[in-house]
Point group: C2
């Protein structure tokens, strides 16, 4: 297992904080530096044991870092990768934890092209873990244990960097799946972005005075609608095309259900319910 002298984490919320905790409890880095905009987030992350020290300056925070993990909202990732890439030591490796990849990776890569014309030090990542909670207070050192992390390999990726980033996530307990940024976005539109859209629409469509008549099914189905609005706005905008395609497919199934209901067609209804049940049973709890 590779051990680091210094890992810098830009953005110490739930994901960044959990990476810090995981590195620490596994003794994988001599030093963990947290980089954030607000002093009180850094203090909270330090108190929670996520980082050894905090700074609001990217140049100073990445100065000695062999690995830099950018865990800021997706719209900010390319800028933070660029800044880290221009101030990190020769040989440092940079990755991120953003929920969308195509645009983000392309922008991050091109921002580094002048300093690193041959071997790009950046590879995109997306840990498929998290929750509707946020902030370093919710950080969990076992968040990545047994979970899938997508590591993206683009046409210009340096394969040594891809390998190192893969090993990094494995060292936190994750299982790594490699795919292109485009494949990632097409898949996540269906498994993450569409479900969020649907949960938000369902919650928004429910009159407040009926909430006392909502049981566990409603609570489960709408849980992710409580997620951070700004983060999700950015994710949807960054993955518009694929999300719209996934939405169109969902609307087609929904409209088959509507027609079955309109016709009082129990057999057609049962058929779609059965398809859904099979898919859900295959997932497990």
């Amino acid at each position: 297992m590779k051990r680091w002298d210094c890992v810098a984490i830009i953005g110490v919320g739930l994901i960044g904080g959990s990476i810090g905790l995981a590195l620490r409890s596994r003794k994988l880095s001599k030093e963990i530096v947290g980089i954030g905009r607000r002093e009180n987030s850094l203090t909270a992350a330090k108190n929670r044991g996520c980082i050894d020290r905090g700074t609001t300056s990217i140049p100073s925070g990445v100065k000695n870092a062999g690995l830099i993990v950018v865990c800021t909202p997706v719209e900010l990732v390319p800028r933070h990768v660029a800044e880290a890439g221009h101030h990190c030591p020769e040989g440092s490796i940079i990755t991120d934890a953003g929920s969308t990849k195509s645009d983000l990776v392309m922008r991050a890569e091109s921002s580094l092209a002048d300093r690193f014309p041959r071997h790009l030090p950046f590879v995109g990542s997306h840990p498929i873990a998290g929750s509707e909670k946020s902030g370093p207070e919710a950080a969990d050192g076992d968040l990545f244990e047994g979970r899938v992390v997508v590591v993206t390999e683009s046409e210009v990726s340096d394969l040594d960097v891809v390998d190192t980033v893969e090993e990094f996530w494995q060292s936190l307990g994750a299982r790594v799946v490699r795919m292109s940024p485009e494949e990632h976005d097409a898949a996540l539109a269906r498994t993450s972005h569409l479900p969020h859209l649907v949960a938000s629409a369902l919650a928004a469509a429910t009159p407040k005075n009926l909430l006392e008549l909502a049981a566990g099914g409603f609570a489960d189905t709408t849980r992710i609608a409580a997620g951070d609005v700004e983060l999700w706005r950015q994710i949807f905008l960054a993955n518009r095309g694929h999300t719209l395609k996934a939405l169109a497919d969902f609307e087609r199934v929904l409209s088959r259900l509507r027609q079955a209901l309109e016709m009082g067609d129990g057999a057609a209804l049962a058929q779609i319910l059965t398809e859904g049940k099979r898919r859900r049973d295959a997932l497990g709890s």
Copy 2:
């Protein structure tokens, strides 16, 4: 707290079994009789401690029952209420636990009208509790603790019976909300039947090979799609009109989201996400 000499439960699945366990642990009935179609469900319910004895015969099972709770699938409830009503002792009270009420209550009431021309012994109930699990093995004596049970008061309901049924559910730890069968169905279409439809459509629309990229959000949003297909087919057919209205409202919100995405309109997107978050935050975990 009223104590019964004998309570009969028709249908000893998750709900019926949980009623039995709750009655028993609270010592609310001297005898609990389970009535079911299959001997092995009755044996399972008895082994689980839900009932004192089981029988496959409604006439014999209700013979001494002061209270009869019908917990069978909604399409069967009216028939079982009728049969119980024609074999129970004078003064017995009958209720059910079905997820839809308008049709069911009307049919159950009319089936009893010839034996009880003045004081109908039946009042409809719907405990807003349950899960995607089923069977007496999943029964839980605390299932109703702190949960809402709707007790429906129709135009022909006997108010003494309504009171007794309300007290019965309260004795199991539930909070009772009274409404008309029609109001119940309009509300539950939004808080329960629509969410189930949406979860099923979402699960059915997700390609199986992408399930490894699904995280907790997908798992939560689709959890109820694993529910019993036949039970839900019956619920949807019994509450078609209200479910279609709720679906139309949901589709309107979803289409506002689609338009915001198509236009790349972040402000409109954030507005709907915020509405959804507020509604979900109001619900609690």
